[in-house]
Symmetry: C2
Subunit: 215 residues, 2 copies
Amino acid sequence: MRMVILDCHISYSGRGETTLERGERLLLWKSDGAVSIHQDAGNKPVNYMAAGSLFSETLNEDGDLVWSFETSKERLTLTIYTILDDINVAMAEDKETLQRDGTEDHVQQWIALHPHLLAEGYTEATREVNTGVGAVDIVLRGKGMPLLVVEVKRTAMLGAVSQVGRYVDAFREIYPDEEIVGCIAALDIRPKTFALASKRGFRCITLPEDWKSIA
Amino acid sequence: MRMVILDCHISYSGRGETTLERGERLLLWKSDGAVSIHQDAGNKPVNYMAAGSLFSETLNEDGDLVWSFETSKERLTLTIYTILDDINVAMAEDKETLQRDGTEDHVQQWIALHPHLLAEGYTEATREVNTGVGAVDIVLRGKGMPLLVVEVKRTAMLGAVSQVGRYVDAFREIYPDEEIVGCIAALDIRPKTFALASKRGFRCITLPEDWKSIA
DNA sequence: ACATACGTGTGGGAA
DNA sequence: TTCCCACGCGTATGT
């Protein structure tokens, strides 16, 4: 990995357009070709370019060094006034990938295994049911029970209500003779979200804090 | 800014849970206290902690160095096997902030200036009208025209339809006697989004590619 | 502090 | 590849 401290002006053009006036920053140039520029604050790079861009070095009319990273759709340009430091560090390849836990996917798996804990009488769970307007997280069925269309979230906000609405509408079209009920299941359901969902006739289920420890 | 190359194991617990097995990474420790850990690939840090966490250094039972960054809600823990490099770089404070162009805000401003280009007969545009369930980007009025509730996007996906739906519902409650029409105006409207919006009775307007150059 | 929405969001999975 | 959605999203703004 190459780490360059430089006093530079930055412009980006591609998905949007940005400029950053002259100042001191750190440029990280990684082994895979990814380039990111960091200010000395915050954890997100201020500008960046994905791996696979084409690098070129030129001089502008004032004699300043210009570094350019280009793809067919994007261009990142650094006008460099001073290179304050230029450090190359050998790093062993890191093949490990981040393992996540407690994601929405885990919550979904848990619910699929415990349909009756979500609502009495349900025995069968199907995950990721496609509707044509997005996939329903979970559909629950049970003898003599309405079809329960469940949107799972870690934190449910207003958008979740709209999602359930879309899915319920889609399901009513697909199964016009079935009784269909919408439902939001989340670790945390925000007050406004709860209110709007209830008004729309959707069930709201807040999962127990210790859901992970329930077999 | 402090840059540490280290061979470490990482675990995070807070909004979710993650672990990253032993490997060589770069730790960026910025002046504001933000900490981010980078693998030698990609532009996003693999783990990080916002400014303001509490640092502590201890040894574990095997005698390994353990660095911990904690807030009331989150904890990032590094078990360090080797510190391969530890570089401190003085950087002048960078007060510049990234200037963006071509954002949704710019698109909104443009539309507000050209209501008639969005739809014949509209003359008055109001931006950021609050509804209690989020702010409507633009409301257009015109003599003898229904109230046009416009959601502006650079790229419109299904969520945009949900937004418009919420706003239209809210407006119909606030102005029960007005005729109200929902509308999505975007540089790019995805097919499913177009289909769903049309079905819901919302207008879809794709802005011209060269909108910026239209006075 | 909560609620809401944009972003060069980024990343991953499925059609 | 495009399309869609989750994310420890981050970050800004209004209440």
